[in-house]
């Protein structure tokens, strides 16, 4: 099989490979730089595996289409960038409350609005957390290499199926368009998770009944299990309710299933942190800059390490606090005005000094820029 050969792939192409390997068989999207290659790749690969590719009229329709396909039992995804991601927010909330598994790739470019189409940025970190309204948990994963684009996409589908939630994969233009060598693992070595389906007789089926995981089994629309899907707050049978106990029960269950799964959902990389006095906390392409900077700093005798959250949301509070307790300072370089450093400061409680490094000119942060910041500590 060709899948064992080493190939030169782009981040976006590796996301396509990861999605197909995870069992994604439906893609609806609208082309946008720098995410277009995902749609292109899907339009080629999906028909080969009896999947469906639809180029939609816009991103509102794209999000609606993948929700519909997922309700019909097919693993589904879409891909976009900032302007399209803004349009997806309403239906993203619908997927949250109706607990429809789906995957959205948001490839960040400069914003706001049409912004800087071909340049890189990390300005959507908070939009991915809070872009859709209402109190909702969300899972956002952020790969930093071509290889990780593959594995993180696989994980995104698995988490979305396991917890019945939309999962966002995010990269920036650099990781999306970057080409690296990758050897795709054989399909038999990959763990693939599928949503749990009801095993009771259709008459006994209570579609949103709580259980120990907080994730009710999900039936395939049309296979005999009747249920009602709505964006309104609903009772365990899926019908609208405003009874305080039922409302509270639903909203708390939506949060509980993610809170309980944090150990499973959260993933981060520690690089040279064991003896570190200073840690650079960076994600996406800046994780690469940070590692280079740490290596260069160590050549100067400065004990610097890197912590790189792959799970951006839910925020890796425990891992970050553990680092804060053991270092003098944490540097948070990011290509926005400080969206993630604010979270680090929020959990800091005076343990360590937080130093921000913000770049918003469409260019990636360089190792030299981080080394310059290090002078504030050394």
């Amino acid at each position: 099989m060709a899948e064992n050969k080493t190939r030169l792939l782009q981040g976006n192409e590796a996301i396509v490979e990861g999605a197909i390997a995870a069992g994604c068989r439906f893609f609806a999207g609208y082309p946008i730089t720098p995410a277009t290659e995902i749609a292109e790749g899907m339009s080629v690969k999906l028909p080969i595996v009896d999947g469906t590719f639809v180029q939609m009229e816009d991103e509102i329709g794209s999000m609606g289409a993948i929700i519909g396909a997922s309700l019909a039992g097919v693993k589904s995804m879409t891909a976009t960038s900032g302007p399209g991601f803004s349009l997806m927010q309403e239906n993203l909330g619908f997927a949250c409350i109706s607990e429809v598994p789906c995957v959205i790739a948001n490839i960040m470019r400069g914003g706001p609005s049409t912004g800087l189409p071909t340049n890189t940025a990390q300005g959507d970190v908070m939009q991915m957390r809070w872009g859709t309204h209402g109190d909702h948990p969300i899972i956002v994963l952020c790969p930093y290499s071509v290889e990780e684009c593959f594995s993180v996409t696989l994980k995104a589908f698995n988490l979305s199926e396991r917890y019945r939630v939309p999962v966002i994969i995010t990269t920036d233009e650099v990781v999306a368009h970057m080409r690296e060598k990758i050897t795709l693992p054989p399909a038999s070595s990959l763990e693939i998770i599928d949503r749990v389906r009801p095993n009771v007789p259709p008459d006994w089926f209570i579609p949103f009944e709580d259980n120990s995981l907080g994730v009710p089994p999900m039936s395939v629309f049309g296979d005999g299990y009747r249920y009602h899907v709505t964006g309104l707050v609903h009772d365990v049978r899926g019908f609208p309710t405003s009874k305080p106990d039922e409302v509270d029960g639903l909203i708390r269950r939506l949060h509980r299933k993610i809170d309980k799964g944090q150990g499973y959902i959260q993933e981060g990389e520690h690089f040279l942190t064991d003896d570190a006095e200073v840690v650079i906390l960076a994600y996406g392409s800046i994780g690469r800059t940070a590692k280079q900077a740490a290596i260069l700093a160590r050549e100067n005798g400065q004990k610097v390490g890197v912590f790189r959250p792959i799970t951006l949301w839910p925020f890796m509070r425990k891992a970050v606090v553990d680092i804060l307790k053991n270092v003098r300072a944490v540097i948070v370089p990011e290509m926005n005005m400080g969206q993630y450093s604010r979270e680090v400061k929020r959990v800091d409680q005076g343990y360590a000094r937080i130093i921000t490094l913000n770049k918003v000119n469409g260019q990636v942060i360089t190792p030299e820029e981080i080394l310059k910041k290090l002078k504030e500590v050394y």
């Binding site: 030169l8 730089t33 080409r179």
Partner: protein, 182 residues
């Protein structure tokens, strides 16, 4: 050893394609570690465009080129803009059809666009001539690997055309190198 290449010019000259080809030749066929990135404007043609390739025996973290071992400039503007990013002993290769003011007499000037037009009647293979010259001058990639990578990435009908373009590039690269060292 980290070797940084920047291929620069304007949109439509095929700089991203030769970046991919160089990365594939060095990475897949020569077995080194490679990272290829690109940067371009919103225009389909025209506007600044560049493609960067990092080649290394070790792990490549930072994916962009900052201290260039080799700079290809296919426009005057890109030559002016990026020349100062070259390392002290870095190599500058320019398309002398389009770059008339060269900042150093140590630059390799080869008329890629002119050769493509006159020798092959197809100006769009100037990029392939350039990557052939780069392989010969720098030795950063095996020429057999480069040929294989080119043939894998171009449409089958153009295989002969591209092979000829590569040969012209390698021959011109050799001449240009002889001129500098002589």
């Amino acid at each position: 050893m980290r070797y940084e290449v920047r291929l620069s010019g304007s949109g439509g000259q095929g700089l991203i394609l030769i970046g991919i080809i160089l990365a594939e030749a060095a990475g897949i066929y020569d077995g080194k570690n490679v990272v290829q990135t690109q940067s371009y404007g919103p225009e389909a043609r025209g506007g600044a465009s560049k493609s960067e390739v990092i080649i290394s025996d070790g792990t490549i973290y930072y994916p962009k080129a900052t201290q260039l071992d080799l700079l290809l400039s296919m426009t005057q503007k890109s030559c002016d803009e990026y020349y100062l990013d070259l390392k002290k002993d870095g190599m500058l290769i320019v398309d002398s059809t389009l770059v008339h003011q060269v900042p150093t007499n140590q630059a390799f000037g080869i008329p890629f666009t002119h050769l493509a037009k006159e020798e092959l009647g197809k100006p769009f293979v100037a990029n392939i001539i350039a990557i052939g010259a780069i392989a010969r001058i720098s030795g950063i990639v095996k020429e057999a690997s480069l040929t294989e990578a080119v043939l894998k990435r171009v449409p089958p009908w153009s295989a002969d055309l591209n092979k000829k373009a590569l040969q012209i590039g390698m021959a011109e690269g050799k001449k240009a190198a002889a001129k500098i060292s002589g």
